[in-house]
């Protein structure tokens, strides 16, 4: 599995990767980005099976990233899981309308990550 993890904290990106592996999923290639803008740059030259993104990030936030992904024919089928401290109804609702496959609120357990991955990847 090739995965893109988008979070402005490098520490959190490492924690997410570690937790995915703890959940029993093999990750072949990990790509990282510190905000939505960087993520779009990464995706210009790389194919991924899954994007996991934060919401609150500088320059380009997670919702703007998802909007950009879903409006581009080349990226609109990439499944997206949100991992964020956000949980306000309007933001979760907006993410669902945009077609995210899972919404995980921080702090999280490996079980929560595992369940979300199972839903998307089987």
């Amino acid at each position: 599995m090739n995965i893109l993890i988008v979070d402005d904290s490098a520490t959190m990106r490492k924690i997410i990767l570690r937790t995915i592996r703890q959940s029993g999923y093999e990750v072949d290639n990990v790509l990282e980005a510190g905000n939505g803008k960087e993520a779009l740059e990464v995706l210009k030259n790389n194919q991924v099976d899954l994007v996991m993104t934060d919401i609150n990030m500088p320059e380009m936030n997670g919702l703007e990233l998802i909007e950009a992904l879903k409006s581009n024919p080349e990226t609109k089928k990439i499944p997206v899981i949100v991992i964020s401290t956000e949980g306000a109804e309007d933001i979760v609702g907006r993410a669902q309308v945009l077609g995210v496959k899972g919404f995980i609120r921080k702090p999280f357990t490996p079980q929560k990550i595992g369940e979300a991955l199972k839903k998307v990847l089987g």
Binding site: D8, S9, A10, T11, M12, K14, I15, R18, N56, M57, P58, S84, T85, E86, G87, A88, E89, R105, K106, P107, F108, T109
Partner: protein, 253 residues
């Protein structure tokens, strides 16, 4: 700065009483009776809701002030507020529900993300002081979003000694403290306060928004804004006896 504590008899109806007041007013604090004794030195007013007595159809509210004043009024929100307004202005009251949300979130985040168990040891207010208790502070701003929390504005910070920060970030990454670089400590402490604020926000019904976190380092550093009106500090101790502090700074909206 004045603080109000809400108590109800019997305790099981406390939720209703507190929610009625919260629906009506901003900046009302709450506590159950056992919490009251924990915080008694910080409380200026105690409001006690008393259920209707036999032969009486109306509940009453008794108010006791730290300065010795007291009142008894029918359970009528306007009557209670009129009494409170004598001594307490809006925005000057510490919202203990908010403070407790941050306390619970700190314990939960440290346990879940770093396997570090902490216990609350002391809660105190800091008047005219921006002192912090450590070398590294993760700070994040918050602003009320709903009518209920419209008066809330401020910041919350977690402050730790450098070695504790290194140990906690190492635990978050499942590494040894010696493997953690300085940049990872600041980034990790920033993410720590981000998760604490996010978790407190969830516990507070998402009634405030949070900013992006910042991290301040250095011995004797200070945090806080010019428009700060109240500050509550919470001392925690981890399983190794090491201390860390949470500071909630409330500012003028």
């Amino acid at each position: 700065m004045q603080t109000v504590c809400l108590v109800s008899f019997p305790e099981k109806i406390g939720g209703e009483w507190i929610s009625k007041l919260k629906d009506k007013f901003s900046c009302i604090s709450e506590s159950h009776l056992f919490n009251l004794f924990d915080k008694k030195d910080n409380i200026d007013w105690v409001l006690i809701y008393v259920s209707p007595l036999e032969g009486s159809s109306n509940p009453i509210v008794m108010g006791y002030g730290k300065n010795g004043s007291c009142f008894v009024v029918p359970f009528d929100l306007k009557a209670v507020w009129a009494k409170l307004s004598v001594g307490i202005g809006r925005g000057e009251i510490i919202d203990w529900a908010l403070v407790n949300a941050f306390i619970d979130a700190t314990k939960e985040v440290l346990s879940m993300m770093a396997g570090v168990e902490v216990e609350k040891r002391e809660v105190f207010t800091q008047k005219d002081s921006k002192k912090v208790y450590g070398d590294v502070s993760g700070v994040i701003g918050f602003t009320g979003t709903q009518e209920l929390a419209g008066e809330i504005n401020g910041s919350v910070a977690i402050t730790l000694p450098l070695n504790s920060a290194q140990k906690i970030v190492a635990s978050m990454l499942m590494l040894e403290p010696s493997e953690i670089k300085e940049g990872e400590i600041t980034d990790g402490v920033g993410e720590l306060i981000n998760m604490i604020a996010g978790d407190a926000k969830a516990k507070y019904n998402d009634n405030f928004k949070i900013s992006l976190p910042t991290v301040v380092t250095g011995h004797n550093h200070t945090i806080g804004g010019a428009s700060e009106i109240a500050r509550v500090a919470v001392k925690f101790e981890d399983q190794d006896g090491e201390e860390l502090f949470l500071q909630i700074c409330l500012e003028e909206k």
